[in-house]
């Protein structure tokens, strides 16, 4: 990617849960690390998230969900991204996601899952080291 361009991140809350403490903390940390962050706000459908990611031309999508609906919503988002031919965006997720669900989420293209207790610095480092474009 162009060195002068700042990393653009879509911070998204799919589904209906209102727990946005984590995503807001991460959004703040990514901004402090020099990234440009677009936060979707609550209750975004997979269609809205994919639409926003394309329109905003982001390098990274950060998904946060704490309701347990990741098993439906994450695959749906990945499916829509593929359908639109978006293959060069780094997608990572976090929230309350049981360890046993992680392998199948990685299989569908979620690059990494960050659980409770994760340091924001680790997420910053991960994003910088794993951009796809």
């Amino acid at each position: 990617m162009d060195d002068k361009r700042r990393i653009r991140v879509l911070a998204a809350k799919p589904g209906l849960d209102g727990h946005d403490r984590g995503i807001k903390v991460i959004a703040n940390a990514l901004m402090d690390a020099g990234m440009e962050v677009i936060y979707t706000g609550l209750r975004q459908s997979p269609e809205q998230i994919v639409e926003a990611a394309i329109q905003e031309d982001v390098d990274v999508i950060v998904l946060s969900i704490l309701s347990g609906a990741h098993d439906f919503l994450f695959p749906r988002i990945m499916e829509l991204l593929r359908g639109k031919g978006v293959n060069d965006v780094l997608v990572i997720g976090g929230g309350i996601i049981p360890d046993e669900d992680i392998p199948s989420l990685k299989e569908i293209g979620i690059a990494e899952i960050f659980g409770p207790g994760t340091y924001t610095d680790d997420i910053v480092r991960y994003i910088k080291g794993n951009l796809k474009r």
Binding site: A11, G15, L16, D17, G18, H19, D20, R21, K24, V25, A27, N28, A29, M31, V37, I38, Y39, G41, L42, R43, S45, S67, G68, A69, H70, D71, F72, L73, R76, I96, P98, D99, E100, G115, P116, G117, Y119, T120, D121
Partner: protein, 560 residues
């Protein structure tokens, strides 16, 4: 509390003590340069009568059960009756949750607390497209009175009290509860319980709003007014700081933003023509019990004293019950760690004890596994046992407000109260809680505190046992309680059958009647009751109200 001569003696002695300590501290400093609690209040090395020398006992503390209720709302507190042990529970279908309730009641729980799934909380039926993936996940799915009948099957509603965490559609769920009770031959006048019904904190911290503030406040005052006549023992609102704290606020902010919301509800009800003493005795509160043990105890006491003063001085309440802050407490979910989850049992125990020493009326203790899943039966039993250990074994319940008079606790109580009052003044300047939320002020304050807290952990200024200190290699948790995605399909099937069997003409007529009522200003509760009895679904009722009221659009508080 002390005479001038004695205070002088103490002051002199204190100075000598401090002087003697100086050289020792130079050689061996304390663990930290500054001791500061989550609210940013500096903590002194030791507290003495000097800190409370100007304290007016009768004005600031009084006796238990008397204004300003600092020491508790009842004269005998837990010597008379322990707090209500009330575990928040709900998942999957009404059948599954009914089984969990009966288990909890058999284990000695004394009240029910219903967790609804997110579609229910946002007024969508289980077959709504946005409900995909969410049905039955964080609570029980309730689509119609049919589900509610199953939820309370064989649970005598004249005997148990039930708390329902429901906000935007609170009127609908309360109507369903009244209708179920009627089928059990229990009159609405006998019903005891609480609906959360606190929309302001949904906008600022929790996120399950539907309608914009103005019509939402109207529904809330309709409920106040209806219940004062028809459901007189019901707590019509639970003004909640819990979620504000979970979203990252400090203890002071929790008190301030919660009481500011409380002020907004009282003002709305008075503007709607209600008399303060008619509805204020049924207002209840809900707080968080977080990590800093003494800060939390002082917070509960400060909140009680501040509310009493607000009700007496600002709203001129006459009935002492209007000034009495009764509250539920839940231990802080956000402090639980996914790492070494058994440590959570101990965290919860300290937090629960702080709530008891702070004089709570009811308590939910979190289960150790809540950082990664819904509580298992074993985990919820330990959580309930924690309350029973405090109640029956610890002796903490044998006298009222055992920490009252502690120099530290009294000074901290006063400090929290003063700082919360400053915030409330600021919110008043912004035009009250609703305006402060519309301007994003409260959300920004909360998210800044959350970020600060996280940075403190990452910079090792704040120790989280098992996370940034004392870590171990561990295996991931197994056998988690999970909700079967088929729950949505069974709810959808039930809805299909319902729509075939009910009198659809009647449902249609009542829903248009509801739209008409919403456009005017009559009380909405009676027509909502008619609608649920005709088996109109939650989604249909909320859609009728959406048609008239519209939906809330959140303000963004991230970035420029």
């Amino acid at each position: 509390m002390f005479d001038g001569k004695k205070i002088g003696d103490i002051e002199e002695r204190y100075r000598k003590w401090a002087d003697k300590l100086e050289p020792k501290l130079a050689r061996r400093p304390e663990r930290k340069a500054d001791f500061i609690n989550t609210s940013g209040i500096p903590i002194k090395r030791v507290y003495t009568p000097l800190d409370v020398a100007d304290f007016d006992y009768m004005r600031e503390l009084g006796l238990p059960g008397e204004y300003p209720f600092t020491r508790g709302v009842q004269p005998t507190m837990y010597r008379g009756r322990l707090w209500t042990m009330r575990q928040y529970a709900g998942f999957a279908t009404a059948e599954d949750t009914n089984r969990r309730y009966r288990f909890l009641l058999e284990q000695g729980q004394t009240g029910l607390s219903v967790a609804f799934d997110l579609p229910t909380q946002i007024g969508y039926d289980s077959d709504h497209p946005l409900a995909q993936g969410e049905v039955g996940k964080v609570g029980v799915a309730i689509d119609s009175l049919k589900d509610m009948e199953i939820l309370f099957d064989q649970i005598p509603l004249d005997k148990v009290s039930t708390s329902m965490t429901i906000n935007a559609p609170a009127a609908v769920l309360l109507a369903m509860y009244i209708a179920v009770a009627k089928r059990q031959d229990v009159s609405s006048k006998q019903l005891r319980g609480t609906i959360q019904n606190d929309i302001l904190k949904e906008y600022s911290a929790r996120g399950t709003y539907i309608f914009p503030p103005q019509p939402s406040m109207r529904i809330i005052t309709d409920i106040f007014s209806f219940c004062s006549r028809e459901v007189p023992q019901w707590n019509t609102i639970s003004i909640s700081g819990y979620h504000i704290r979970e979203a990252g606020s400090t203890a002071v902010q929790e008190v301030a933003f919660t009481l500011a919301d409380g002020i907004a509800y009282v003002e709305a009800a008075i503007s709607a023509g209600l008399d303060v003493d008619e509805f204020a005795p049924r207002l209840s509160f809900f707080f968080n019990a977080h990590l800093d043990f003494f800060e939390e105890i002082a917070k509960f006491r400060a909140a009680r004293r501040l509310w009493a003063k607000i009700m007496q001085e600002r709203f001129k309440a006459k009935d002492s019950r209007s000034m009495m802050m009764r509250f539920h407490t839940q231990t802080a979910g956000c402090t639980l760690t996914a790492q070494q989850p058994k440590n959570n049992i101990v965290r919860v125990a300290f937090q629960a004890l702080s709530a008891v020493l702070g004089g709570t009326q009811s308590l939910h203790t979190n289960s150790m596994d809540e950082a990664f899943c819904l509580p298992s039966e074993e985990a919820v039993q330990i959580a309930l046992r924690t309350q029973q250990l405090i109640g029956y074994e610890s002796g903490a319940t044998d006298t009222v407000d055992p920490l009252g008079g502690s120099y530290y606790i009294e000074e901290l109580t006063r400090e929290i109260l003063d700082r919360a009052q400053n915030y409330i003044d600021k919110i008043d300047e912004l035009g009250g809680a609703a305006a402060a939320i519309e301007k994003g002020f409260i959300q920004r304050e909360i998210q800044d505190s959350a970020y600060r807290y996280q940075r403190e952990i990452e910079k090792d200024e704040r120790v989280v046992v098992g996370v940034n200190r004392f870590q171990v290699e561990e295996e991931s948790a197994k056998d988690l309680l999970r909700v079967d995605p088929a729950v949505r399909l069974s709810q959808m099937q039930r809805l299909k059958t319902l729509r075939l069997e009910r009198d659809n003409g009647r449902v249609k007529a009542i829903l248009s009647e509801l739209r008409r009522a919403a456009e005017g200003n009559e009380n909405l509760m009676p027509v909502i009751l008619d609608a649920v009895r005709a088996y109109a679904t939650l989604g249909e009722i909320c859609d009728a109200l959406r048609d008239v009221f519209g939906e809330y659009q959140a303000v963004s508080t991230i970035g420029g």
